[in-house]
Symmetry: C2
Subunit: 483 residues, 2 copies
């Protein structure tokens, strides 16, 4: 208890040191703990419950779009990883290698999957014969390993959990449609469940996935103005299909190569939730994924009838909400601080005078507002309140994102903004790698995406030349500093 | 289609070659495929859906007994694995070693977890301070790796999926209670959901888990008379707690070591489902975990009104059952064979004459029985039918198990039975390792367990001496050949 009491004091202020604030939150809200292996985190029950809620929602969305789950092995033989040239170049430098099984040295090294395109391709080559077998719409939930040098909980870890969808289609158009469909699923999920506004767009060639023809992304802006790539969807064309000989017999009786996609969202998004919504009192969780949506806190619980009334309220809610009853022998203030730290969306306070009046107090975590509600109306009020909270969290995150999105029409302007104003910088771009590299060098920004809808974020650009080289430019692009 | 048509022909008869029959089923019912790494299997969507159903039921049971999920890293540093002497001796010979991260050789080898006691202990040492922190009741779903020499899908694979519960308690009695509580959860799950009868009992010292004080097991008998260890629950005492210095401050203000358990059930149980219930037409799935519980097959589906009526039936069932509508352009016979292969518990046939009479035919996969049912009564009939199927599958498996359980009162008798009659052999045993080794040597049987209730399985023993050495024996034990 003495240990817990200091929780809030232990959190560094968000505006003083954002990185330390983040670390304080993941630790003090009991989301993760460190293990003995650098970059491999223990996701504690409270953190894991958030991930399980994310899984449940995404699984439902994947099912509604026709996908099914399966499980691939965690090991990839070195020769299999090497089958597609661009892919191995992208991933080989950062994989963990298994060289021994028990006492024996293996004949061939195995890597722990960094991603599973090669495994899916090998399997698809076995099971796809005819146009009747297409499309194949598979997904798996698993952990993957990438041997990163710098690591941070959720944002960049050597082992991380994710889902990876891998699909095969008869035509290029079908595959492109799938790539965009799943990007839209991710955007819908982020905005309407996590209250994280995202920009949908295409990655530059430099930033696309190793082996992909096109990578689409959703980019979010964190509270400190740095960008977080929050989900990606890749269109592969038939490149892997050719490398792995995945052909189907079409209706016209000719053999054709399949067209492929993959798409993934990871535990990194939990970092996104923290950095979009959290404040100096701790986590602020969107109701859709909060392990506890409503906590019932009896006030003056030793007085006659209080605990009984609180229990009655708890029982009336427990089939409809993830609700918790906190009747521990601590002061209400201590409990309030703990539930604020853990980001519980709604606190329901109930004291002797409330009971007498047939009401309770509902305190919102997101904006601190308190309302008095009739106990008899809770089943109507609460669903609406949780919905309002999500919408208002999204609106406030969107307003902040917009206020931190700038336009630049010259290199000097871009450098000035990059040096002084954290956020997205929207410019015209000629499309050349050289200009992209120059901006990294001179302004320390990387390309985030070329937005599908350039009017959606940032003001209008009154120029048609590249912000860097001044040549004629057709593309509109967002730059930023990223996690 | 030509490929699928041969499904049933491709299955070896169960009585001719049980091992080949098993392999044929896992492949032809689309449960698994082989990957490029020996012993690492691809669990295909149909197989994985069974596992997801198993997970959902067990998760509910674990939650009801107060447990919560979390996620530990997959890597264990060599020094951490070595912390508990018996444990490392048991596991080090069969772990996969990661030696390189990217291009760099690691300072210390990491093994891919074969089980996670050491990881949990390291974490518990950090988070347990006081008696208020106990018990800790954690579980995780993950895959683990053991570098087995001989491998078979589900039964023995190098990577396999499981859940591992790891709990910490204030007293030895609390830990023993937990060990038995979870063994009972497993037994309840196997019998009432999977229709697999099990014998609950204690393992001999030779067969117990590396580092455990006691290992409890549930043992099932497969169709060929070989035993399958189907779930285990371990009591560790305070051995690991001492090795990892896991102490708590008790109410009396003194430091005490925690008492520990772990318990696991794995994808191996899917092998148990196959080998308990399957037949020469394929899989027979218990309704509780069948991906499809009821398949609606329209007969003469091109006739007017048939598809519409079938769709109406499908729609009326789909919120209450996992139901599938098979309106593919194939003959009913072809469809029947496919759904039999995949073990769908109930086939609902609906043809023009049925529709006219307001009825349908319900065909049971487990015993082939067909009944005619009023369409208007399906919502009452089907839940009862599924329940009857589970009960009757359990009864028939239990009858077979009992008919294959023998008693032996002398070594000659035991050897004779072991050589000619597959099944459990119940005997008295003095408890000496030497006798256990001798029976392995002379009769090729291993100890399965010392049953909690010796009257539950096998006949009465009219002797009180060890079946091997003839010395006074207090223990009753089951022997068998095991997977």
């Amino acid at each position: 208890m003495a240990d817990n009491k200091k929780k809030v004091e232990k959190i560094t202020s968000r505006d003083v040191d954002f990185a330390q604030w983040y670390t304080d939150i993941v630790k003090n809200a009991d989301l993760v703990d460190y293990s003995g292996v650098k970059g491999c985190m223990i996701i504690r029950p409270y953190g894991w419950a958030i991930w399980e809620n994310i899984q449940a929602i995404l699984n439902k969305m994947f099912k509604e779009t026709g996908h099914c789950n399966l499980s691939m092995p965690m090991f990839i033989p070195e020769s299999l990883l090497q089958r597609e040239k661009d892919h191995v170049e992208g991933f080989a430098p950062e994989v963990a290698w298994v060289t021994h099984g028990g006492e024996e040295k293996l004949a061939e090294r195995l890597c722990v999957r960094p991603t599973s395109e090669t495994l899916f391709c090998e399997h698809y080559a076995q099971i796809i014969k005819s146009y009747r077998d297409l499309p194949k719409l598979y997904n798996q939930w698993c952990s993957v390993v990438r041997w990163e040098k710098t690591t941070r909980p959720f944002l960049r870890s050597r082992e991380f959990h994710w889902q990876e969808g891998h699909t095969m289609h008869a035509t290029a158009q079908d595959a492109v449609d799938e790539t965009l469909r799943m990007l839209n699923v991710y955007a819908d999920f982020c905005e309407n469940y996590l209250a994280i506004p995202v920009v949908k767009g295409r990655k530059t060639d430099k930033e696309k996935f190793a082996g992909a023809e096109d990578t689409y992304t959703i980019e979010a802006l964190m509270h400190d103005g740095r960008a977080l790539q929050s989900g990606t969807s890749h269109y592969f064309g038939d490149g892997f299909a050719k490398a792995f000989d995945i052909q189907y017999l079409d209706k016209d009786n000719t053999l054709k190569y399949c067209h492929q996609t993959s798409w993934g969202m990871s535990t990194r998004i939990i970092g996104g939730i923290i950095m979009t919504h959290g404040d100096d009192n701790g986590l602020v969780l969107p109701p859709a994924v909060a392990p506890t949506q409503i906590v019932v806190v009896p006030v003056q619980q030793h007085k006659e009838g209080v605990l009984e009334a609180a229990t009655e309220v708890f029982n009336s809610l427990k089939d409809s909400f993830r609700v918790e009853m906190d009747d521990r022998d601590q002061s209400p203030g201590w409990k309030f601080a703990e539930h604020e730290m853990r980001g519980v969306p709604v606190r329901l306070e109930l004291g002797p005078r409330d009971i007498e009046a047939g009401v309770c107090v509902l305190a919102r975590r997101d904006n601190g507002e308190k309302i008095t509600a009739n106990l008899s109306e809770l089943s109507e009020i609460l669903p609406k309140l949780l919905d309002d909270i999500t919408k208002s969290m999204l609106e406030s995150a969107k307003a902040r994102r917009n206020s931190m999105t700038y336009t630049a029409e010259s290199l000097d302007e871009l450098k000035e903004i990059a040096a002084t104003k954290p956020g997205f910088i929207k410019t015209k771009w000629c499309g050349d790698l050289e200009c992209e590299m120059a901006l990294k060098e001179q302004a320390d920004v990387t390309s985030r995406c070329m937005p599908f809808n350039e009017d959606e974020v940032g003001g209008e650009l009154h120029t048609d030349v590249c912000v860097c080289c001044g040549k004629k430019a057709e593309k509109t692009i967002l730059w930023g500093k990223a996690y």
